[in-house]
Assembly symmetry: C2
Homo-oligomer: 382 residues x 2
């Protein structure tokens, strides 16, 4: 049914499971591994579409739950679909609302049929079933839609995790049956907590349903990074070589590299924009706290190798913008961090093509660790 | 002493005192009449230098008082002067702090020597004398500096207005003696409230001191627009034909047109950015309240004739950004309003060259008045 999509592995790294691929969609191609900036409410916070394109973002993410509540999926459809609404011509992926079922767990009731919760905007009751999640995403018109999944908090009992995983498989099948748009690819989501058997069972069941792409969900919900890497170690090999793999909601630059090393192709995270708004910049020498008083008269930019708009300015100026609470500070730092992520991914793709990913990761990590005074503080706070 | 500056009247309107001029500065030329966006704290709120340039702004304004308190004039100097600090290569004018003497009148003590007030940032005592105002502006490195003037609230007693006006003349002379940079032009400021004799006396005294430019200050402090126009009627003719005339802190689009009609060349105001942040857009059909529910599914842009980034989007999308409290809403509307002002001024310059300013103003005002539902509400609220 689905047309205009394909995924091709162009190169494989020498010493790791990393691969360099090309994901083709009706709104253009994505060189993978790729990072998708998050435009929760129809805007990647603080940046215009032109500024977003200048960061070299290829594909972005929108949140079905937020857009369905405001302005409403039908309003978005009438205003040109999500592409026209946001003025973003490139590929867009929408999540399904599954993560919000997790976030709203205290205000949500869940049955086999659907999840029901109160809108955080006007308190009205909202029901999202698998069929409704597909209907909403078809109205939004994203290139990639996600199945509705049941995400649970970790740690949790094996029983609860199994129950949610099994429901996620049944819901994935319902989403697949509900989908009608042939210009939208529907990706499945592997659940199963930190349990090897549950993850592998879930992967096998979903693969048998033959989806055009597979996500690994339910991670980055508070577990240690090492636990997440371990899940990838035993889950990714269960997924087909020929389909794109997407690690949802992840993460820090190191998490991206560790995911790529294990064969992940797509990532999304609010971290570059959220940290940027809070005055934290990602750089080749590790994180920089822009508000730090020591930067007051710093004439050099944040990162001398960075081509972004923020790095046309001195770090002293960027600090001033945050001290003076000027909107331009969050905007420039969001642009910088998004640019940092895209540059990191472009270099990573080149390293995979050269079969040198392990050495590349070592070099990047050494750069972060070398001589950045802000690092220790950040490892505590992030 | 001053080099790199000149002002030339290129054309005169047929039926009004309006003139079309060229003001040359060390950082480039300004076609007048011109509108200067305000970058109070080293940033025109919400927009990057590239976005600001795209609005066709020629010259911008910085606030000496704000920059002197934070980050400090010496810090700005060390970070490249105001041009390097902001990454703005075009001409910059700085005010002197006189208007803040007015704004802070309840927390300020004033002697013949200087004004002293408490910093709104850290409560420290700050003294601004005429000499200090010049020193600060020389450290900032603006192209045009303003003399320190004594602005009083209106209405006020004739005695207080005269006293402040006479002090403004003495302070202007002290500023002139203190100025040392030959790449910075110092403009005088005519005071005198709404009193014809005081205004004309002040103008004559300042003209005798031979400044390269003259501002009309102490207006837009709460008096009716008609009172301001009357001051221009009898003050502008006292100023030399061969020097630029600057109406400080003004104003609404109509105020600009009425000022230009009376021979004013330069304007500055926070209105395009402040109103933009608050969801009010200037358009050829009058003001538009973007948050208005009637715009919810509006597929047309704010202004179909506008080339700005905001007008690539539907009005429905802009409304959504404001409803969702996305930063992009204020940014896009600031860009739109700044673009509106620059387009209005460019058209006004063309109308003066054609000797048709009166007809042009009538046509613009008719456009505002024709069929805009938001207009009545705005005339009450602005």
């Amino acid at each position: 049914m689905m047309s205009g999509f394909s995924f091709e592995v162009l190169a494989q790294d020498a010493g790791t499971a990393a691969r360099r691929g090309e994901f083709r969609t009706p709104h253009g191609n994505v060189s993978t591994p790729a990072f998708m900036p998050v435009g929760t409410q129809g805007s990647v916070k603080g940046v215009t579409p032109a500024q977003l394109a200048a960061t070299r973002a290829q594909m972005i993410l929108g949140n079905t739950y937020h857009l369905a509540l405001r302005p409403g999926a039908e309003v978005v459809r009438n205003l040109g679909g999500l592409h026209g609404f946001m003025d973003w011509d490139g590929p867009i992926l929408t999540d399904s609302g599954g993560f919000q079922i997790f976030s709203l767990r205290d205000r949500m009731s869940l049955t086999e049929e659907a999840a029901t919760f109160r809108s955080h905007i006007d308190g009205s009751l909202v029901t999202i079933s698998p069929e409704e999640a597909v209907r909403l995403q078809e109205a939004l018109g994203s290139d990639v839609a996600m199945v509705l999944d049941h995400v649970v908090q970790l740690p949790n009992t094996q029983e609860k995790i199994r129950e949610a995983m099994e429901r996620s498989i049944r819901w994935a099948r319902r989403c697949q049956h509900a989908a009608t748009r042939d210009d939208q690819a529907l990706f499945a989501i592997v659940q199963g907590g930190l349990d090897r058997d549950l993850r592998q069972f879930c992967a096998a069941e979903l693969v048998a349903l033959d989806f055009p792409g597979y996500a690994i969900g339910g991670l980055s919900v508070g577990e240690p990074p090492e636990a997440m890497y371990e899940v990838l170690d035993y889950t990714v090999p269960e997924l087909p070589e020929a389909a794109p793999r997407y690690l949802m909601g992840v993460g820090r630059p190191l998490d991206l590299l560790e995911g790529i090393r294990r064969g992940v192709d797509l990532f999304d995270c609010v971290m570059p924009t959220r940290n940027g708004r809070n005055g934290m910049a990602f750089t080749t020498r590790g994180p920089v706290r822009v508000r730090n008083a020591k930067h007051r008269e710093e004439t050099r930019p944040l990162d001398e190798t960075c081509p972004c708009e923020a790095c046309r300015h001195s770090l002293g100026y960027l600090r001033h913008l945050f001290q003076a609470e000027e909107m331009l500070g969050p905007t420039l730092l969001s642009i910088h961090n998004l640019t940092y992520y895209q540059r990191l991914l472009a270099e990573t793709r080149a390293a995979i093509e050269a079969g040198q990913l392990t050495a590349f990761i070592e070099q990047i990590v050494a750069g972060w660790e070398a001589g950045n005074d802000d690092r220790q503080q950040d490892s505590l706070q992030e």
